[in-house]
């Protein structure tokens, strides 16, 4: 039996939530933008009014202001967006237990087995969800309905805002296939260029190209795209919240001023590693690999990684690895504008670990206990209630609170 899958997409999610919370913004060009003071000065989301004036997501705030003098830019309020995301999920879960989040603003809902007992078709459920988003949350969503996740996602993008699109086995060749290839999940910029160069412009073109040829051009990925374009994707809707399905935990930051020496980097890495370690502990995970990312003030960036001897959730150990990597790979040709730390190859904290005869294991346990205690103090009294002495050396850099400031991550499809 064919499945019935909904993909629900919150239209201009962040901007619409801001509008839903402040009616005085209604009808005005408005955008959610990063903090200029902290130099995260880009547009994260914008309303239709701002879009009509040519404002684009991802451009610098000053560029947006140039096109649209009266644009209202508000700083992001992630706790608010997370709350709305959760409320949307609560609605979905009234229709199915199979709800899979894809970022904060997108979700798949598999209603195959719910339609009988609800006595509703997939389309009716889609419309009810769309209407409830407006009446209960004050935001619009667009919904795609299809028999596979890929086409359902294309559907939510096909007509918006506040619309429902249905792709069936009868209409997909006339509706999905003429869409540009880059609309397909998995066709990014690089793949698009490769495909276009070979005359592949639409999703239909991908579908009708032989899999072996696609594999030749794009390796394994070519086969995926062929399956996607033909509506043959059978991957299930796996119930996950937006915070789950973690493959790595990382934090990066564009610092309030350029970093010019090892000490600056150490201070910033300290704050970032503490945040990564706290989040590892929150999720009961240990990282086996540490990766650092560096971007200089000419925006050239690169990443380096190393494997740890033992998986860890201790900030000090992450920091030592990060500094080791940094000293090995950076020669200070230019000041740094943004740096990041990531723990990868995650394993559960319940995994057995090979102990070391010569290392002081007790000390590690003590350190972990100490850091967990700090977590608790911060939970009760706020992040800045307790800080490492190092961070007070430079108020500007050390005041960073990456854990609360940015914990939103896009997730991959696989």
């Amino acid at each position: 039996m064919d499945r019935t899958i909904l993909h629900v997409d919150g239209n201009h999610f962040y901007a619409n939530i801001e509008k839903a919370n402040d009616p005085s913004l209604k009808g005005k060009p408005m955008a959610v933008g990063g903090d200029v003071e902290q130099r995260h000065g880009i547009i994260l989301a914008k309303t239709d009014e701002a879009k009509a004036r040519g404002v684009k997501t991802g451009e610098a705030l000053w560029q947006a202001r140039e096109k649209c003098k009266d644009i209202i830019i508000v700083p992001p309020n992630y706790p608010l967006y997370i709350r709305y995301s959760r409320l949307l999920h609560d609605i979905f879960e009234e229709y199915s237990d199979k709800v899979q989040a894809f970022g904060l603003d997108e979700s798949w809902v598999d209603v195959t087995n719910s339609m009988d007992c609800l006595k509703m078709s997939g389309e009716e459920i889609a419309h009810e969800i769309r209407e409830r988003a407006i009446s209960e949350l004050g935001i619009t969503v667009s919904v795609g309905v299809s028999w596979n996740k890929i086409f359902a996602k294309l559907g939510s993008d096909y007509k918006k805002p506040n619309a429902v699109t249905i792709f069936t086995k009868e209409n997909y060749k006339s509706k999905v296939w003429p869409l540009p290839a880059e609309d397909l999940l998995g066709v990014g910029r690089a793949t698009q260029i490769k495909l276009n160069a070979r005359g592949i412009k639409t999703i239909g073109d991908i579908a009708n190209t032989s899999p072996s040829l696609l594999q030749n051009w794009l390796h394994k990925w070519g086969l995926f795209l062929h399956v996607f374009a033909n509506g043959m994707d059978t991957s299930p809707v796996t119930p996950t919240g937006f915070e789950e399905a973690i493959k790595s935990i990382g934090n990066s930051t564009t610092t309030p001023r350029d970093l010019v020496n090892d000490r600056d980097v150490r201070i910033t890495f300290t704050a970032l590693c503490e945040s990564v370690a706290t989040r590892l502990r929150e999720h009961g995970l240990l990282g086996k690999t540490v990766q650092i990312s560096l971007r200089d003030n000419k925006l050239f960036s690169f990443e380096r990684q190393m494997t740890l001897q033992k998986p860890t959730c201790i900030a000090t150990e992450l920091l030592n690895a990060a500094m080791l990597l940094f000293k090995k790979h950076y020669r200070w040709d230019k000041p740094l504008r943004s740096i990041g730390v990531r723990a990868m190859n995650l394993v559960s904290e319940h995994t057995s670990i090979q102990l070391d005869l010569f290392e002081n294991e007790e000390k590690r346990i003590r350190e972990e206990k100490l850091e967990r205690t700090v977590d608790n103090i911060r939970k009760r009294f706020g992040h800045h209630a307790i800080l490492r002495g190092m961070l007070s050396e430079d108020k500007e850099l050390g005041y960073l609170n990456p854990h609360d400031d940015h914990t939103i991550h896009p997730v991959g499809y696989f």
């Binding site: 839903a20 009616p23 005085s24 709305y84 949350l137």
Partner: protein, 80 residues
């Protein structure tokens, strides 16, 4: 700023079955109003004041109005 949204103190009865029944509101000026009747309870967005919450349609004397429970705070929409 958004002055259509007025947060208020509310005297509430938490029932043993989990229901939450607001009994009395204290307005900004300190004046207290007893809620005579709850006509409807539904999750809804506030179109006038913004935000979303559990919306109680309440009757105080001869007037009906909305009272929102937004997570752990209560607000009403300012008339005007």
């Amino acid at each position: 700023m958004n002055d259509a949204k007025v947060y208020v103190d509310v005297l509430v009865n938490h029932m043993k079955n989990g229901k939450i029944i607001p009994l009395c509101i204290r307005w900004e000026d300190g004046e207290k109003y007893r809620i005579d009747q709850i006509l409807d309870v539904i999750r809804a967005a506030s179109t006038k004041a913004g935000g979303t919450g559990i919306r109680y349609t309440i009757r105080i004397g001869n007037t009906t109005s909305f009272l929102f429970l937004e997570e752990d705070k209560w607000f009403v929409e300012r008339r005007g």
